[in-house]
Subunit: 360 residues, 2 copies
Amino acid sequence: MYACTLNDEDSLEHSLFRRLWNISRKEVAKLAGVSEATVSRVLNNVGPMKEKTRERVLKAAAELGYVPSALAQQFARRRSGNVGVILPAVPKVHLFSTYYFSEILSGIGETAKRCGYDLLLIFREPEGARDYAKLFRMQKIDACIVLGSRDVPEERAALAELKAGGHPFCLVNQRYDDERYETVDADHLAGSREAVRHLLAQGKRKVAFVNGPEEYSNSADRLEGYLAALAEAGVEREDERIFAGNYSRKSGYELAGTIAERIRGGGIDAVFAANDRMAIGLLQGLRERGIEAGDHYALVGYDDSDGSRITSPRLSTVAVPFYEMGRMAAARLLEPELGDSALQDGGTMLPVSFIRRETS
Amino acid sequence: MYACTLNDEDSLEHSLFRRLWNISRKEVAKLAGVSEATVSRVLNNVGPMKEKTRERVLKAAAELGYVPSALAQQFARRRSGNVGVILPAVPKVHLFSTYYFSEILSGIGETAKRCGYDLLLIFREPEGARDYAKLFRMQKIDACIVLGSRDVPEERAALAELKAGGHPFCLVNQRYDDERYETVDADHLAGSREAVRHLLAQGKRKVAFVNGPEEYSNSADRLEGYLAALAEAGVEREDERIFAGNYSRKSGYELAGTIAERIRGGGIDAVFAANDRMAIGLLQGLRERGIEAGDHYALVGYDDSDGSRITSPRLSTVAVPFYEMGRMAAARLLEPELGDSALQDGGTMLPVSFIRRETS
DNA sequence: TCATTTAATGTACACGCGTACATTATGGCA
DNA sequence: TGCCATAATGTACGCGTGTACATTAAATGA
């Protein structure tokens, strides 16, 4: 039918080699009979162009199955198109709810995708070597979101370096009030106050508090909320009722011995734990000692994690909009114009809500 | 002391602009008094070089705070250095244990970091548009690991295209036995058989099975293991004892009505659920009907998730080495020479182990 | 019709690195 | 000393885009 001309050679090339030799702008340009620049302009929709040309180029691109090389684009644009997400070192993940991270990560992913960014996962080095700024200098990422940040010297140094370098980043669930970093947090003070108010409203007067490590601003917020609620109700602060865990279930479990005695002795009639995991550990530890949540004492956790729904009795807790927080953190970095309008400025605080279940 | 020469201008440049204008190989070369190629060779440790030169270059690089541009490197090497990790669409995540993903992800991350790769997170599109191969054609990733794969036509097509394109990928926890894809799975047949054997050994003879959707090879494996154990014990298969859930807690919960009746009627004396979430949902649903696990019936879950430890009674289950599976999947792709030696060839199956707790 | 603006396209180069190849230093050996 | 093999380094270019600038085509106005 057709003579074996150059055209046929071309189509042979297309059908056979398109998967072998990556075809580039050049081939598309040749097929469409235009210059490479025109191809580029059509695909990026920049500058004026004749509709006819546009169609020819798009057709040629489709025919060749052309896909621009992200590598070359990134290089030419000097942007990686990646948002780095910094996660706690592997073993630390288990201190937090994994639920916590998957929710936040999903939220970040949603916004990032919408803005044309990809997510680069970065596990924090266990041994203090946290050179976040290097990731920017290497141009691996254009922005980054820091999860599980703790107020320790190495972390402060790393963040200060980011700031000094002018690198866009956003903290989630951790504030450095003296630093004015971009931050998305939830109103843990209000959440804790609410939780403790609830306990007080039940007539409890000896409310213990199991907090997490003080390197997390979350912990300070919760303490503040706890104290505020007590003060409101005219209940005196009692330091013996304040305990320190590390947000792991185990740490809650291990406090059960001490707390059991106090409950038996009438020194404690309710417990507010700074997260569900510790609350659950405590619940289990106390149960082993014959002390039942919701019966011998009231218990409230924090996070509304999956776990809070599967204990029995079900755990009262405070719901935190992790997914929203992730979305917002990403939006702050990737679409700052929208971000500002969406929040009352400086209002990085998302609302939380107390959820009463069976342990209180 | 020093005259204001070009040298001083240079050091001014270093101290002030090193963070503003990204310095490149060129500046290092000039400062070290060598060619750019030599800088490159020193930094990549390629070819012979004089120790003296090496030191000069490294010193210059350090002095300038030089960091190679990952973008340019990737472009020149035509490798992104990224491993794509494909995750279920956001809403789906909740069907799986988030524990499951964070474990596997950590395992992948460990190996990837060791091999000098980064992790690019990719959420599967909800609407069937899963063009995995495009990620390779765009050169966004050099390899990919597919999590939560389901045997549906779109998925098969996407995987077939990957294979046809010669793109390295590895499935985790899902097999396509007719396709010979690179896969890392655990021995769910053995795990399920073990779990059911245990129930039978307790004298149970009417063991129900709550399975997940059949698009997951995991589900088929578990069914097979369940049936194998029954057959061994000479217990006849009874289709009315086989139920279909979707791996969510809710789906287990919703089966409670039917199963409660059967337990009361003596038609069921034990339940093996294909994952912990369904087991927990069922446990809760039955409890609401006054039927207690470990008491009125025996219950075994699957996954050894966090949740299995916090129910009461604690859930008997089957532990799966998710972290190891992640490590191995990554190793398969990134260090195939080691991977092959580590496993008996074709032996993609990792062992699982039954864990007896209080519900059985 | 021609001059002048504006639309549409082409030409040329930078981006920062890796690396093939050319070139120059070095050392061994006769 | 001269020759050769090899070590060490330099030169030059490609990788596939984006885009500034130059050029040409079309449109507008007198």
